[in-house]
């Protein structure tokens, strides 16, 4: 990494040419404050609205009524809320453990051993990461449902009743763990890759076996990084909405995010109760993120990256090699082939039934006709694409500017940008949806019920991602080029447009692709922002599935998966051309 040293001084233009700049309406200072104002308008209102609503009663049309602390009193005195919080923690802890075990094992196999199928595993993980959670949850419900292949097999071969209860906490943990595994894999793989293998070599040379090397040398080395990854996955599982809503709610298992959702679905909506849960959840997320940041900082003491170059050395597994390879293929089967396969199967059925229960002559493409013939569903595809493009572009534009102000100038108050850009980290999607929808219902700006309210919420939510991409991108660009431009008489705006932006392009493109993909599959915000006239794909699928139109939702899911495949392929070609690396 070409990391330049911390900036000691600002480009001359910003400090040394005050007279001409002051005359211009567009001095860097003013532009910076404009960007800060946009950041503030995006991130502050939803946060303030949620807190405000938690402190007020809600009248019968959903407007705030009178000040009250009852919402918090209920939260802390009702046995039900204890169960909700307990469910959230159990789900998050269980899913984190499963994700770390699955993702960690495979990361170790791929990065540190000589098992076969390592490339396959990497590709499978990337594909699984791109899969929308709604699709994933849906196919697992079908796999484990009362009529699904797992229970059918148990009934058929072992004469058992229903062995798996699909709408239950264990299944939620299982599915959430599986959807989090790819992220655990990618993050842990990075940790393992940065580890100095010479230490392991020493252990092996000194006569330690694979097991002992792992437990005495590798494990302690990856612990700090591992803990940070674990906390991140725990936080994401706490914030998760798709799996709890689709797997948990029908079985009556409520977690904090779905409790917030239920509050908004009541008539009149219970914004107060939902707001109290939201504040509690944000505090929890904030505390966890702060802790994990501290651990990561302290983890620097473990110095897994050293100045010495290291050659990739792989542990010879010997007789365990085929087991490791089998694990890779098991993941490909369970994590990818089974859910997608079942989706394809369900999409050609006249009515839903497990494989083997229906004569093949009844298979039909009718569901595809039905899905592609529905203007509302086609509309949701256009909306999703439009929202994705607008969101990604806005995030990139805003954070390119903001990142530059933070990293390259010494303007007073630039920390404001950093702080504002970080706020959304503690606002889980469902709360962002709650805050944005409640805010724009209260103020007379006509964005409610249009697709622009999605863009407002999404841009706010994804600002931190953009900041991370542009921040790390800028760090890698030497300052000399900008200084040269300034010396040659370019004004700051021109320097930014002609020098910084082109150099930053690879990072921006990566950010754009990432935000576009994430925005396209997101449900937790969309479910509260969509109105009957403005549907997006995730919400359409969620509704179709809830309506019991299983075969049609499967067809829609297959169409989506194909589209996503094309998108990912196209973007990765573009990315490779431009030499961009897309990181989680």
């Amino acid at each position: 990494m070409g990391v330049s040293s911390e900036p000691r001084f600002a480009p001359a233009s910003v400090t040394a040419r005050p007279r001409t700049e002051r005359a211009s309406l567009l001095s860097p200072r003013i532009v910076m404050w404009l960007v800060a104002a946009v950041f503030a308008l995006l991130t502050v209102p939803p946060l303030v609205t949620v807190v405000q609503r938690s402190l007020y009663t809600t009248d019968f049309i959903g407007e705030p009524g009178t000040f009250t602390l009852d919402n918090y009193k209920h939260l802390f005195t009702q046995g039900a809320s204890l169960r909700v919080v307990g469910n959230s923690l159990t789900l998050a802890a269980g899913a984190t453990v499963l994700a770390l075990v699955v993702g960690g094992t495979l990361a170790w196999v791929v990065e540190r051993t000589d098992a076969r199928g390592r490339g396959v595993c990497r590709v499978a993980m990337l594909l699984a990461l791109a899969m929308p959670y709604v699709l994933y949850a849906m196919s697992w419900i079908l796999l484990l449902g009362p009529n699904g292949p797992v229970n059918q097999a148990a009934r058929h071969w072992f004469g058992l009743g229903q062995v798996v209860k699909p709408y239950s906490l264990p299944v939620m943990i299982f599915v959430e763990g599986l959807v989090s595994a790819p992220l655990a894999f990618l993050l842990l793989a990075a940790v393992l890759r940065n580890m100095d293998p010479s230490l392991e070599e020493c252990a092996q040379v000194s006569g330690a076996g694979v097991g002992k090397t792992l437990s005495r040398v590798s494990a302690p080395l990856v612990t700090p990084g591992g803990i940070a990854v674990a906390m991140l996955i725990f936080v994401r599982a706490l914030e998760a909405f798709e799996v709890p809503a689709m797997v948990g709610l029908p079985g009556g298992v409520t977690v904090m995010t779905t409790r917030i959702y239920l509050g908004t679905q009541r008539q009149p909506p219970d914004y107060g109760g939902a707001g109290a849960y939201a504040v509690l959840l944000m505090v929890a997320v904030g505390v966890l993120l702060a802790l994990s940041a501290r651990i990561t900082r302290r983890g620097a003491a473990y110095a897994t990256v050293t100045g010495r170059g290291f050659r990739p050395h792989r542990i010879r597994l010997g007789r365990w090699r085929s087991l490791a390879t089998a694990l890779v293929w098991l993941f490909v089967l369970v994590g990818l082939v089974a859910p997608i396969g079942l989706l394809v199967w369900a999409s050609v059925l006249p009515y839903y039934a497990a494989p083997g229960q229906i004569p093949t002559r009844l298979l039909t493409l009718h569901n595809y006709h039905a899905v592609l013939g529905q203007p509302a569903l086609l509309g949701s595809i256009t909306n999703t694409l439009l929202i994705g493009v607008c969101t990604a572009t806005a995030v990139c534009l805003l954070t390119a500017g903001a990142g530059w102000f933070v990293a390259r100038t010494r303007l007073r108050g630039r920390w404001v940008l950093e702080q504002l850009g970080g706020i959304p980290l503690v606002i889980p999607g469902i709360i962002m949806g709650l805050g944005v929808s409640a805010f724009y219902l209260q103020v007379p700006i006509a964005v409610y019920g249009t697709i622009w309210i999605f863009v407002l919420a999404f841009v706010a939510r994804y600002l931190p991602y953009g900041m991370r991409y542009t921040g790390s991108g800028l760090v890698q660009i030497g300052r000399e080029l900008e200084e040269a431009a300034v010396m040659s008489g370019a004004k700051p705006g021109r320097t930014f447009a002609r020098i910084v932006l082109p150099l930053l392009m690879p990072s921006l493109a990566a950010a754009w692709i990432f935000v576009f993909l994430v925005a396209g599959k997101e449900l937790s915000m969309s479910v509260l922002l969509s109105s009957p006239d403005t549907q997006v794909m995730a919400v359409s699928l969620f509704d179709l599935f809830n309506n019991g139109q299983i075969t049609q939702s499967a067809a829609f899911g297959v169409v989506w998966t194909l589209g996503l495949g094309v998108c990912v392929a196209l973007l990765s070609v573009i990315a490779r051309r431009a030499r961009i690396e897309i990181q989680g």
């Binding site: 049309i61 959903g62 407007e63 009529n147 009515y351 039934a353 219902l441 007379p444 700051p492 019991g548």
Partner: protein, 368 residues
């Protein structure tokens, strides 16, 4: 690309868009629009129909947020209306009572007045207090019994529903079917029951029916026992719960519409219904929006809906007409001929639905 100029252009564009957004929210027509709706809705003189037709010719459109199943009844009604008045196009949006009510409330809160007519079992109860409804008078309601029209004109009955138990006939043979509420507590039905979470017609109304018919104490005790049966909460309409019974995902479903069961049965689906006594009787009620953009067309539609002509279409499509002049296609769908008694919960629903929803959430949604 010159930097400052580009930036200036960008900022100019952003400001323009912001201003555009800000001004789009204003400029809504004010009180005069509402006054016009009230005048049309309350007009009773002899030239009423001609006046409505003249007005509707200018309005051309009609927007109806409905809870009535689209392909079964709502669309056929809209089509018949369009045949009668070809100059009016009916635009439908279908959702559950809570959904359509919330849609209208949110639109009115953001001052976007699109809807003319809105219906549902509990929609008018939810909306009446908001001031978003306009009382109306339709001569066609004259023959309707008092329980099927609002004394102040906030709603009139479109059609009736009776909420029953549905069974998949392949999974649950007739002999084993539960016949009473007590039968539902049999351990063999654990995990086999499903219902809709819809507040206007699903689980909360079941709770209301039990609390009313059994009394507060006995009803609560019963519901506690029923909660142990692990009923599946389907976050959707009764119609889709029924579809899942047809598909075999659930053997039994509570609180589904008996006319919809018969509609599916007639199409060959393996499904039948059983009335658990007393059956929850529901009235689907249609109301006029206070700021209806097409009041004349809306009033014409209301007249049509309540008339013999409109009610005949409800009947033909297997719905249960509200008009006393039109009998149901299968009389057994109604109390009396159907050998069941019904308890109409509408009056209590207006005040107690929120309480029933709370009880439902506490008992049947873990950690509600």
């Amino acid at each position: 690309m010159t930097g400052p100029r580009t930036l200036r252009a960008i900022i100019g564009a952003v400001s323009a868009v912001t201003l555009g957004i800000l001004t789009a929210g204003c400029g809504q027509t004010g009180a005069s629009a509402a006054k016009k709706v009230a005048e049309v809705a309350q007009y009773t003189k002899a030239d009423r129909t001609n006046m409505l037709i003249a007005g509707a010719k200018k309005e051309k459109r009609l927007v109806w947020y409905t809870t009535v199943i689209t392909n079964q009844i709502a669309q056929p009604l809209a089509n018949a209306f369009h045949r009668k008045y070809p100059f009016i196009t009916v635009q439908l949006y279908r959702g559950d009572s809570g959904t359509v009510a919330q849609k209208m409330i949110q639109e009115y809160r953001t001052r976007s007045y699109r809807v003319d007519l809105i219906d549902g079992t509990s929609t008018s109860a939810m909306l009446q207090r908001t001031g978003f409804l306009q009382p109306f008078r339709s001569p066609e309601l004259a023959s309707y019994p008092a329980q099927f029209k609002d004394p102040s004109g906030y709603w009139g009955a479109e059609l009736l529903y009776y909420m029953v138990l549905a069974r998949n006939t392949k999974l649950v043979p007739s002999g084993q079917t539960p016949r009473t509420y007590q039968d539902l507590l049999d351990p063999k039905w654990k995990g086999k029951l499903a219902w809709s979470t819809s507040s206007g017609s699903g689980a909360p109304t079941f709770v209301g029916n039990i609390l009313t018919s059994m009394g507060q104490a006995r009803g609560t005790a019963y519901l506690h026992q029923l909660a142990g049966q692990g009923i599946h909460n389907v976050n959707s309409s009764g119609r889709s719960v029924l579809d899942q019974v047809v598909a075999g995902q659930f053997p039994l479903a509570l609180q589904v519409f008996n006319d919809q069961v018969d509609f599916s049965k007639a199409a060959g689906a393996p499904v039948d219904w059983v009335p658990l006594q007393p059956v929850t009787g529901q009235v689907s009620r249609i109301s006029l929006a206070a700021r209806a953009p097409h009041p004349d067309a809306a009033m014409l539609f209301l007249d049509f809906m309540f008339s013999k002509e409109g009610q005949q279409i409800v009947r033909q499509r297997g719905g249960i007409p509200a008009s006393p002049q039109v009998e149901a296609l299968r009389p057994t769908l109604k109390p009396g001929p159907g050998r069941f008694t019904a308890d109409y919960i509408q009056d209590r629903a207006a005040t107690q639905l929120s309480h029933w929803s709370d009880v439902y959430q506490q008992l049947f949604v873990q950690g509600g």
